[in-house]
Symmetry: C2
Subunit: 362 residues, 2 copies
């Protein structure tokens, strides 16, 4: 049976290395200059056409980075934080930056009206993206429901793919998923209507099907449009605190949201799967099983910027000098600081929302 | 195997009576007051929820009639003429009248740009509709590609139907057809965003699947939208001049287009299948096989308004008094007059195009 990455579902890939092989991805290997934390630590692990973007950066040629906001409720999770950090990386490397609000998708699937979806985006998600490092002055925003060009592209592209081809990419096909996917393809290519240029889409690996569909459609419409195929940049899932592959909304104890009350976070961290040994004696002797420790993963992926600091903790934990309880304390303290800073920046960003560069559509 | 009416394809239903039965249609039986030629002569043969519209007419309550223009090339066929005549009937019975230009569909499937599609609609199709009796002052026009509300509805509706349900209605499902169909559902319901009211969609019977899909979706979204399910009014196909079920663009000799050079039309009429007998003697004795005579069908469906006049020709042909050659002569003369009048009215309508009521979208 053909292997499928399912961006909507619960099926989990067996290992990232296998994904790279099965889906013909390029493994991430120091592709970009001045790599960010996620790139340096293998959290960004794969991509497509990354070198086209690296060349654009190197030769100062125009390119874009694009991402979407799904404005359902006033929460984001740590996976979104990684996306924003990768957008920020490219924004700081001269990318024209597009962030769209998927209000159509939110209205169609999350039981909110278009108006509510817009309000939530303006009052929470966009400020949250800014709080996480997006530069609002250098970002072009639009609402999907305003953007007729995206809808026109989606309509046209629907004629360029068969049901079986869709199913081969997504593993499943139904009208709702087809509409969502084609609209995303429209979003991904929209910046090129103004100017043909390469673009990169940083996403969780589960979103690769959208990149593949877009690349197929670029190929099928090349005579008419001459679009550049989008590059992809994929990060790993933020691991679930209970040790399962991916945080999941169906298991609230497994995931940390932004914002989240620090007491609630502390409780989850206390319960998280650790890499500590059964007894202190054994732990001092053998050291921790670091790859099992979810709090260490949190430190590595999200909470410690400085590589030296992280390495020290790693080595001390590996040698048994640090206990799993101490790792949890560190994670708890760092998370408290992060949550406080996030709350502060979020409030500040909310006050700037009137100055955003929204595309005005005629 | 389940029977399917295929609005895109070439499969032909065996008989209209069977269609009525198989698809649970209401047979048309004097449903409407002051019936037009097509209603009086059984060319309009079925519908859905016709009595809701009849009640609206009777009690002078608001309702709408809606149709779409596919602006590919500067030709329409006689089937379109029937649609326009039925729109006109409801327009003359106080219906709020909507005519949309399916420029998105034309651009996606007919290899024209949106701009070309619009131009063709403005320079030919809309004037042709006016020439065929549409009152431009009482008609609300819009371009599909301008109408974000229609696209938003299509997006939302995509989540309300499964692939199997789509396939059960259309017999086939692929992304292109799904996008077209959902957009048509959006068009059909769009007038009700402003005001909930019943509406009727006069179409060829092959378009019934769109009405069924719309009715299903109205049912599934009733809590949110409380739309009225659209009524349908179905006319028979204009028979092919070669005696096959339906005129077809793949057999140019079988069909008459508007406009068409009268010499070309005359040639096709000369070659058309007739109901005449093998010899004149036999014909005088037995009379014509009228139901086989395509030129008589043209007279009945399109060319003779006066019932008495038609009946006289019918009786004289049935008795053998009129020959098939004479029927062809009559058809030829009437068609010449019709084509001349159409050309005249078309030119006049073209000069009025600036005064149309196009919806201006913000």
């Amino acid at each position: 049976m053909k292997k499928i990455i399912d961006p909507w579902g619960a099926k989990l890939p067996e290992s990232y290395e296998k994904i790279v092989k099965d889906f013909g991805l390029e493994q991430y290997r120091d592709n970009f200059p001045e790599p960010n934390r996620l790139m340096r630590r293998g959290v960004v692990f794969a991509g497509r056409d990354m070198n086209i973007i690296a060349e654009a950066i190197k030769h100062n040629k125009p390119y874009y980075v694009l991402s979407g906001i799904m404005p359902s409720n006033e929460k984001i999770h740590l996976g979104t934080k990684m996306v924003v950090e990768n957008i920020r990386y490219f924004q700081e490397h001269a990318a024209r930056t597009y962030v769209l609000v998927a209000d159509l998708e939110a209205a169609a699937t999350r039981g909110v009206s278009l108006e509510e979806a817009r309000k939530t985006a303006l009052e929470f998600h966009i400020p949250a993206y800014i709080a996480l490092g997006l530069n609002p002055e250098k970002t072009i925003f639009y609402f999907q429901s305003d953007n007729k060009d995206v809808m026109h592209l989606a309509y046209e592209f629907s004629k360029k793919i068969t049901l079986n081809e869709f199913r081969a990419i997504y593993g499943i096909a139904d009208p709702g998923r087809i509409m969502s996917a084609l609209t995303q393809v429209g979003d991904i290519l929209y910046p090129q209507l103004e100017r043909r240029m390469p673009g990169i889409i940083p996403v969780g690996i589960d979103q690769d099907p959208h990149i593949r569909l877009t690349r197929d459609i670029v190929n099928r419409t090349k005579e008419k449009y001459k679009f550049f195929a989008p590059a992809g940049l994929y990060h790993k899932y933020t691991p679930s605190l209970d040790g399962s592959f991916k945080m999941s909304k169906s298991k609230p104890d497994s995931m940390i949201e932004l914002p989240e009350d620090i007491k609630s976070v502390a409780k989850k961290i206390k319960k998280a799967i650790s890499g500590g040994r059964d007894t202190l004696e054994e732990h001092r002797k053998l050291g921790a099983v670091i790859e099992k420790d979810m709090c260490y993963e949190l430190l590595k992926m999200h909470l410690i910027e400085d590589d030296e600091e992280l390495k020290q903790i790693h080595d001390d934990y590996a040698s048994g000098k640090l206990t799993s309880g101490e790792i949890k304390d560190i994670a708890c303290k760092k998370m408290t600081i992060f949550m406080q800073e996030f709350a502060h920046k979020l409030n500040k960003a909310k006050s700037q929302i009137n100055k955003l560069n929204f595309i005005r559509f005629s």
